[in-house]
């Protein structure tokens, strides 16, 4: 609990000093509004200030066509676009479309993987934010209802 209190204080400190702190400290604030939004476009506007993205074939989104299990869908995103600031995963048909957002810091390579939950068949969008704007690619993932499993 001690640790968590310290972290909370840090968060408050970061909020109070937004203008002067480097990006790393800035990002330490969890984007509540974007994550709470129930509409993909709104979530993106909360996070990026706009919901407009440029489709890009320089983003590699590796994700299954048919999810074995909607509770665990492996996703990998990488890109050759330069000066990446963040990579985000948006699943428009999820109750809360913004799934995760990864802040790239100096030295971080634009190549991330994780496992996500999907409530139903939906597009999965990878949104890459760079100093030149927002780029994206999307793939549909079918989520089916299992029979017996494993």
């Amino acid at each position: 609990m001690q640790t968590s209190k310290r972290i909370l204080l840090k968060g408050i400190a970061a909020l109070g000093a937004l203008a002067v702190l480097p990006r790393a400290a800035l990002a330490a604030v969890w984007p509540t509004a974007a994550f709470s939004s129930t509409v993909a476009k709104q979530a993106m506007t909360e996070l990026f200030g706009t919901d407009q993205t440029t489709p890009s074939d320089q983003i590699v989104l590796r994700i299954p066509e048919i999810a074995e299990n909607g509770a665990v869908v492996p996703v990998s995103i990488s890109t050759t676009i330069e000066n990446v600031e963040s990579i985000s995963i948006v699943v428009p048909k999820n109750p809360r479309p913004l799934v995760a957002n990864f802040e790239m810091l100096p030295g971080t390579l634009a190549d991330v993987s994780c496992r996500i939950k999907m409530g139903e068949t939906s597009d999965v969008m990878a949104v890459v934010k760079t100093d030149a704007g927002l780029f994206s690619t999307a793939k549909e993932v079918k989520v089916t209802i299992g029979g017996c499993g494993g």
Partner: protein, 286 residues
């Protein structure tokens, strides 16, 4: 006329007798090893492109898209937490100073493949789970609940330690009880049950690789090699018998208790069918 028809009749009886003898011989000869060879031959002819050892990977030997997702999960599988917990539990000293190791003659890498085995003293099939609780009993400790995380962690650790060893279930021929247990397990496997009137055989032999709603049915050959498994659906570990229980429920029959005689015999039969395959547990499944 009369003589002629009698001859034909006699001939018929003779042919019938011969057939009966042939059948009897076949039945008498069809021991576990013949069963196993026929079982393996079925899957090999059904999936000629799949190498025998691949069957240890279950449905992922058959379904490429699912295999990719499984491999992604195997990059860093959640069952590693269970292995860690099992490692710690295995090392713990009981109040009397002993450890689990003291109950088993083999090193940790040599334990998993000893089970299921015929326990002549108790006239029953002994599974790894049963043996762990026997060990606890010998040390005045209460049983671990079948289906508990603690027990699954220990079996996950022992499975991990035994990776690469071969399934090698023995049916000692000096004890008719062992063969009877095997036969009971075999009967269970082929018997239709439940409101849906399905045998294990119906799904995992006749309809293997077909879809049941969104799931593809896995082969029985190699099914026991990778348990216990982390099930994504449940977010936790399950034993082979918990999987049996799920299957029985899925065909709308009342499941037998974990570690019941029925399930232990089935485990004995199924493992025997997979003799010679590599142990690759613990596993990750959807």
């Amino acid at each position: 006329m009369q003589a002629g028809s009698r001859t034909i009749h006699t001939k018929r009886i003779a042919v019938g007798l011969l057939l009966a003898i042939a059948l009897l011989q076949q039945t008498a000869l069809a021991g576990p090893e013949d069963d196993r060879k026929a079982f393996v031959a079925f899957y090999q002819s059904r999936f000629p492109d799949i190498p025998l050892q691949e069957f240890a990977n279950g449905i992922y030997a058959i379904d490429a898209d699912a295999r990719q997702q499984w491999q992604d999960i195997e990059e860093f599988p959640p069952y590693e937490f269970a292995i860690d917990q099992g490692t710690a539990l295995w090392a713990e000293r009981f109040a009397n100073g002993s450890t689990y190791s003291d109950c088993f003659a083999s090193p940790t890498a040599g334990i998993r493949q000893l089970f299921p085995r015929w326990d002549a003293d108790h006239e029953r099939v002994e599974t790894l789970e049963l043996a762990i609780n026997e060990c606890r009993l010998d040390n005045d400790l209460p049983d671990l609940e079948y289906g508990s995380d603690e027990l699954a962690s220990i079996t996950a650790y022992l499975a991990f330690e035994a990776r690469g060893r071969l399934v090698d279930v023995q049916i000692p021929d000096d004890d008719p009880g062992a063969l009877a247990a095997y036969e009971a397990g075999k009967q269970f496997y082929y018997t239709k049950r439940g409101q849906l009137n399905f045998a294990c055989y119906d799904c995992h032999v006749l309809s293997v690789s077909q879809y049941v709603r969104a799931d593809r049915l896995g082969p029985s050959l190699g099914h026991p090699t990778h348990f216990p498994v982390y099930r994504s659906k449940l977010g936790g570990m399950i034993s082979l018998q918990q999987r049996f229980s799920g299957c029985v429920r899925d065909v709308r029959a009342k499941p037998f208790a974990l570690q019941s005689e029925e399930f232990r015999n089935l485990e004995y039969f199924l493992n025997y069918m997979s003799n010679g395959l590599e142990l690759n547990g613990p596993g990750a499944r959807k």
